[in-house]
Point group: C2
Chain length 202, copies 2
DNA sequence: GCCGTAACTTGACGGTGTAAAGATCGGGCG
DNA sequence: CGCCCGATCTTTACACCGTCAAGTTACGGC
């Protein structure tokens, strides 16, 4: 009876994440419903609940993967640009960050949006992963302060929070549909970098 | 028959906006449903649809009022601080902006969130009002550039977009529940201002 | 071979936005 | 004054949603 679909799916959990990601990618977060997801992997409505406590847990899992992908992208930039000067490195990071948000708007929304952080409640493992991701940013900011690309008058933490907020605001412009011109957005991103960094960076 | 409630409400539209604002204020945007709203003003579920095309239209109307309130707050700051130097003026504006977001998080979310701008579609009159509001910011930025509080190397528009994005990102931190410490947030806000403004402003 | 348990299904409940059609009333005109 | 039109409001219905509770199936270890 291999022709008819088996009672046990076998690989349901990864299949769910895969399918959910696909739905989110091209129908948005609002387009993802547990029922539609279940249908799309050919399983009953409640089956997903044996692998995820509720919808929030599923979203957290997807957001986690998002953080992993983003971290990977950013680590790549750091490794690739070894001999560059400070400001170029900083600019590269910001551009990469914005590009990630542009290319995966729905994932970014999940990672940093209120669906999880305010309305839902973030999984401990998601919290940890997001904290680690921010830690990367703080480290960069520290290095930029040492190289005098960023001013050192405030603590690295505060400077990191402030500059990250600026970057995040930029990403939000796109994601919330407030400002959609992709071309302009890159120019605005560069403007943000120029506003924040000291003109005489190392 | 004045004891029993009349068939025609008479002042339903303003009553709806009032009630909806109240619900949003203390139950969040997600807490507002057309049915609950209708119940709360003692009217049938479909009655609101005679005054607002759909839920989106109602939300736009409330967002508009939000813009009016925000504009009023900010104009107040401008008028009140006449003799101040440039940077103090700029700081005052940013603090006021952030405070508005802190005090009316749900309204702010409605005004600048994706509920209206991406998922829904903004009313023409809302678009106009939000554009006018941003225009205020561009004007301030122009004056700050003239006074050398902000650098003049980029156009006023780009500089306004970039700096507004920074401010908006800050507001978002709070609204999305990513960073909730109100005290810290004000410090971060000041850090943003210091990062953006030139140290030797007029 | 049996049986516990994990995986999955079915049905139901209360919630949502809103389309369609019916009921009621106030105001302007004959 | 009487009538009727149009604005206002109500009722009913539909297709969704998340998920609780209870039932069904199949696999792994004894």
């Amino acid at each position: 009876m291999s022709a008819t679909k088996p009672y046990h799916h076998g690989e349901l959990r990864p299949a769910l994440i895969e399918a959910a990601s696909a739905i989110i990618r091209d129908s948005g977060i609002d387009g993802l419903s547990m029922r539609r997801l279940a249908d799309s992997v050919g399983v009953s409505r409640m089956a997903p609940y044996h692998h995820f406590k509720d919808k929030n847990a599923l979203l957290c899992a997807i957001a986690e993967i998002g953080f992993e992908a983003q971290d990977r992208m950013i680590r790549d930039v750091l490794e690739r640009s070894d001999g560059e000067d400070g400001k170029a490195l900083f600019t590269g990071w910001v551009r990469t960050y914005i590009r990630f948000a542009q290319d995966n708007p729905e994932t970014y929304d999940l990672m940093y949006g209120k669906e999880i952080w305010k309305r839902g409640d973030p999984t401990p493992s998601l919290q940890q992963k997001s904290k680690a991701s921010f830690r990367l940013w703080v480290d960069l900011v520290e290095r930029m302060q040492a190289r005098q690309v960023l001013p050192g008058e405030h603590s690295a933490l505060r400077t990191a929070q402030a500059s990250w907020a600026a970057m995040h605001g930029l990403a939000r412009l796109l994601i919330d549909g407030i400002y959609a011109q992709r071309q302009d957005l890159e120019e605005i991103a560069d403007t943000v970098v120029n506003l924040i960094t000291r003109s005489n960076g190392d």
